[in-house]
């Protein structure tokens, strides 16, 4: 049973930590975005786009969790009874996206919040703000990639 518990812990960390990163990031970006919208409601679309960017970490975490659940058969079908050592492996494999998601979500939110200034002052150039914000996301993407590859390598049952 310990094996399954450890795998669930891995899934929980992936969703929880990456989700926390996104929640903080989207929150920070949303606060500055509201200021821009209060001045000029027509910029809502651009503001929403920037605010949504730090939201992807949460999705990546969720994705990793789904892969883990699928691996151990918790998503319908029969639950695979795995060794504790396999459980540990799955738990550690979830860490790249969990940690990278947490930190990159927060900092991407900060960059997005700063980029709201571009939307306010030079709306024609908001694409540059989006790219600046997406630079931070790179590390969440790499974290996800590492998690996926690691999970793929772990043999269950």
């Amino acid at each position: 049973m310990l094996g399954i518990a450890l795998a669930i812990c891995g899934a929980a960390l992936a969703v929880g930590l990456a989700g926390t990163g996104s929640a903080l990031g989207v929150g920070i970006a949303g606060q500055s975005g509201s200021g821009v919208v209060s001045e000029d409601p027509e910029k809502f679309g651009k503001v929403l786009l920037l605010e949504a960017l730090p939201g992807t970490q949460g999705i990546y975490g969720f994705l990793a969790a789904i892969m883990i659940l699928q691996k151990v058969g918790l998503l319908g079908g029969e639950v695979v009874q795995i060794e504790p050592s396999i459980g540990w492996q799955i738990l550690f494999a979830s860490l790249p996206i969990a940690i990278a998601g947490l930190s990159s979500g927060i900092f991407q939110g900060k960059v997005s919040a700063a980029a709201m200034g571009i939307v306010a002052k030079k709306p024609g150039e908001s694409g540059k703000g989006i790219i600046l914000s997406a630079m931070v996301e790179t590390y969440a993407v790499l974290g996800l990639l590492a998690t996926i590859l690691l999970l793929n390598g772990i043999k269950v049952g």
Partner: protein
Amino acid sequence: MAVSPIKKLRLIALQKHQNKILKLLHNLGTTEILVSPKELDSSDLASLEYDFAQTKFAVKFLKANSTIKENLVDKLTDKKIEITPKQLKKVVKTFSYKRIVNTLSDFEASLNQDQNDIKKFEEEKQVLLPWQNLKIAPDKLDSSETVSSRIGTLTEENYQKLLDEIKKLSEKTDLLKINTEGPAIYLQIIFQKDIAQKINEVLSKVNWSEESLPCENLAPEKGIAHLDDQITKQQDSIKEIEKEIKSYSKYLRKLQIVSDYLSWQLEEQLAKQKSQYTKETFSLNFWIEKNNVANLEKQLSKITKNYSIEELPIKDKSKSPVVLKNNKFFTSFEAVTDIYGAPKPNEPDPTPFLTPFFIIFFGLALSEAGYGLVLMLGTYLIMKILKIPREDSKLLRVLFYCGISTFIFGALFGSWFGIDFSGLPPAIANVLQKVEVIDVGQNPIPILIMTMILGFIQILTGLVINIWWLTKHGKAKDAILDSGTWIFFLLAIVFYAITKMNIFSEAVNSFGPYVVWAGVIGLVLTQGRDAKNVFVKFFKGVYSLYDLIGYFSDVLSYSRLLALGLATGIIAMVINLVAILFKDMIPYIGWLVAILILVGGHTFNLAINVLGAYIHSGRLQFVEFFPKFMQGGGRKFKPFAKEAYFVKVVNSK
């Protein structure tokens, strides 16, 4: 397919033709006028600027208050009023916009006045409300000859103190409790006038806070009724005004036309100020694309034969404005280049080079056949149904082409809306199975390697572009020594890696290390050539090897395409899973909930992943590809043209 050649010209003509010529330049919209050294004096423009600002305000005000509802499609596509030059002239001549604008600004003033009044009355009412039980008008408090009274508030504690103090006085004093609200007690104190002095002292001892009420001549209860009356009156007045404003809605179209006309007038006046004058002539300096010069001269000669155009020397070539010129297909992808900004005038236009890579990368990052189909059809239908003109549909076109590659990659990877083939009718499943080349979810490594190979190809392409461009501009030596050596070194490393896999014969394999060493030596010898000292040359050369890490991380960066592609497919699968879960869980209407989840979930997934695919494919161009052959930071050509906010002038309707 490049940065269009640009010229700096000076036009000299007679002043009497100036208005006509400026109008012509404005209509052509192919020139960018340079500011003359003397400072602009905006005082002559003040009245024109005022008129324009007023009209702009009137349009905004009328739009906010009018009954006219803009069609959603028109609003999305920012549809303009189409008008011929003749009609425009007629509107400007016959429409007395100043009168309308003034009336509207009067309306706004009285609306504001009424709203302020209402606010004031409401505040006064709030002051009066606790005093409702006071039976005397505030200005009658001190009207009797022998008795006086005052009103004010106290806290409970001070109230008790006051009671004590009054007891100590004579019995000629009366304290009435009017109201208690929260911590405050509302009091009226009545006393004989001859002890007014003593009362004063007592009151200041207990921190009496004197109250002065609005509507002095009415008892508070009546005062409140009076204020309510006033408020209703003002509200009626507001309704009346709003009705009147609505009757002005019919002028909105004309006001918009005049507003644009005035903004054009303003621009022409500004251009006039940018000219330099002699007694009879004026001269104007401007940038113009080489291709447009002939047409400009042709049009000018229709106005007058008395003009001269001379070409001015361009002192700093890297500072002239940039126009990108591409064919129909590549023009769309300027949308990607524009995010980064224009290249310098002496750099190549990256648009045609990035196009194939962008399409492939986007397809890999989304890699979902169903979504590709939706993207293709969606953008195609939007362009056809809304009839969006070509110059405004760059982004849609890019998404259309990317939709095609998404579809192809999705089909090759066997991803169709995340559907499991085993649940499909065998006939369809067989076809899809046959198209599928690899299941990325089960076997991601080959695709990971493929993305990095693509990245390697793009980086080499960037270096080759650099060689081509520098050679074309007579810097072949630098091109070969810098980018050339790097290409050799990078290829050598790849060759060495392949020899380790034992594909070639022993003889070929033995070359591997030597080729790499040749590359290292080449770099060490060439990269320090700017330095004078031999040792500095050597160390600079050795240090340049450090750039290899940069190339290495550039190539690794392309692995994001795999992660993004996997994400789309897995989320699509999860959405299907959740939908089926709900269908089985809820009786009778389960299928309805399932459909809602499917539609909503897939739309969300599509939106978020298209955004991700777009910005990450873009980033690979800007961060990994561009620096190999350009720096960017060019200034875009800003033509002196009739910018339309509301109106589009067409020649015939």
